[in-house]
Symmetry: C2
Subunit: 254 residues, 2 copies
DNA sequence: CGTTGACTTGACCGTCTTCAAGTTTAGTGG
DNA sequence: CCACTAAACTTGAAGACGGTCAAGTCAACG
């Protein structure tokens, strides 16, 4: 095993046939043909340490990844350092697709926890399109889903108040995390992010974010716990944000 | 010709072989095979009158469109009527893909000018994936491009000031419009939107948007002209927004 | 045991919102 | 052709929401 920059490439501990994600109800069932193709499409596993950067804005990447375990986030920077978190990445999410298709990464990705990724070759993506149209369709599906999430985030930043935004963000992350078993069996989901991350997601200052989260905590909708948030009442948060929630229909997993 | 709700379906005045968009340098060249397939994929043309709604959030659509002429915008609403404009659509942009793939539309689309659309059948999309992997790849390309634009818009809403946001938005629209000849040959691009649209895009109030645009107009970077804005100095706007601009590499057109 | 990163809290200030009252322009019907 | 209306834009004033500044506490870490 090779270790560098908080990254290490391991042998394949999780063959696709024994993928821990695939059996979850959140994902659509796959045919054995599809599974066999994905299995040879997958080149290995990459472990990224908490806090290190997976992909960097402005660079080219020879790889494409799917998250197997852990949390991360996508972000962009302004020249003077202002940072905007665009979305969070969780198990089942593909990262690096935009860079694979358009050439250069337009955003960066950082690990919020230790992260395990399935590694694919960018150069083989086109072969997938030629040989497995159903998987190609799935990849477009994933891109459309990401677009949907970004649309909702834009609505949030543009038109929701600070309290609504915070409620939306936490309810949103909770629902995604719960659907892929990120709570690890425990019922209230625990999100490993700092208030700085939340502030950079909501487009608010750190100070104001702190005061806003306190309001939610005072109402006992969330709880603070050693550098992470626990979501106690996702339903109440959704109501504050006036968010109906996402549909939860099974989605593809590549 | 049938007319209903400001919509009319015409015979095919623009066969794909004589597509006015395709020769533009903004689009990648296509093989004759691809062109032939797209030509039979296209079912007709739809004309939508300025101000009418093309697609509605929460509904299912049997169609998928590509914009041939004109301007429009995608938006989402909050229950109480707050509106967020997500992005603008211009010639060469595909609309309704998200709904075609995921079933239900998660946003609405409205025409800013009279709009002419190429109409495709949602049900034939999968056949395209089976028969023309190169076009399937192109569709993913377009989805990735949309994602890129949304990321930049999120950065803008979250981390740019009102003046920077306005400058970014106008420079952004200008560069997209210019690349597809929406200026109609005239050098400064004229954007047919109201200040209400701009406000709903920037996440600002109408009053503050008005005052912010005035600052840009006072510096002679933009000019107001009969219910539309003229962009005089895109370069200066980009500098205010600290935006480097998009790459301008040829993109696919389906 | 000093340093660092994360969180907290209060005070003050400015950007942006809201309210209110206008003007101008385009469209409509008498 | 003109009065009427609605939509879009404009402007000023007051106030709220959120930002910035400053000075803390606390836990983890070498």
């Amino acid at each position: 095993m090779e270790v560098k920059n908080g990254r290490s490439i391991s042998t394949r501990r999780y063959p696709c046939e024994k993928c821990p994600l695939r059996p979850l109800p959140a994902f659509r069932p796959f045919t054995s043909d599809e599974l066999a193709f994905i299995s040879q499409f997958k080149k290995g596993e990459l472990t990224v340490a908490k806090g290190s950067t997976v992909l960097i804005e402005g660079t080219h990447s020879a790889h494409l990844y799917t998250v197997l375990f852990g949390w991360g986030f996508r972000y962009k920077l302004l020249e003077d350092g202002r940072r905007q978190v665009l979305n969070y990445v969780m198990p089942g999410d593909m990262i690096g697709l935009q860079g694979s298709i358009m050439g250069e990464m337009e955003h960066s990705v950082e690990a919020l926890s230790n992260l395990m990724l399935c590694v694919f070759e960018r150069d083989e993506l086109y072969a997938l399109y030629r040989k497995f149209p159903s998987l190609a369709f799935d990849i477009t599906w994933l891109a459309a889903r990401e677009e949907c999430m970004l649309d909702e985030n834009l609505l949030s930043l543009g038109r929701r108040t600070a309290l609504e935004r915070a409620a939306y963000l936490l309810a949103f992350i909770e629902s995604r995390a719960a659907s892929v078993g990120l709570n690890g069996g425990k019922s209230p989901v625990e999100i490993p992010i700092t208030q700085t991350h939340i502030a950079d997601t909501l487009g608010l200052s750190l100070v104001h974010t702190n005061k806003t989260l306190r309001k939610l905590a005072n109402r006992k909708l969330i709880r603070w716990l050693e550098r992470s948030y626990v979501i106690l009442e996702p339903e109440a948060l959704r109501e504050i944000a006036r968010w109906s929630g996402s549909d939860g229909a099974p989605r593809p997993l590549v």
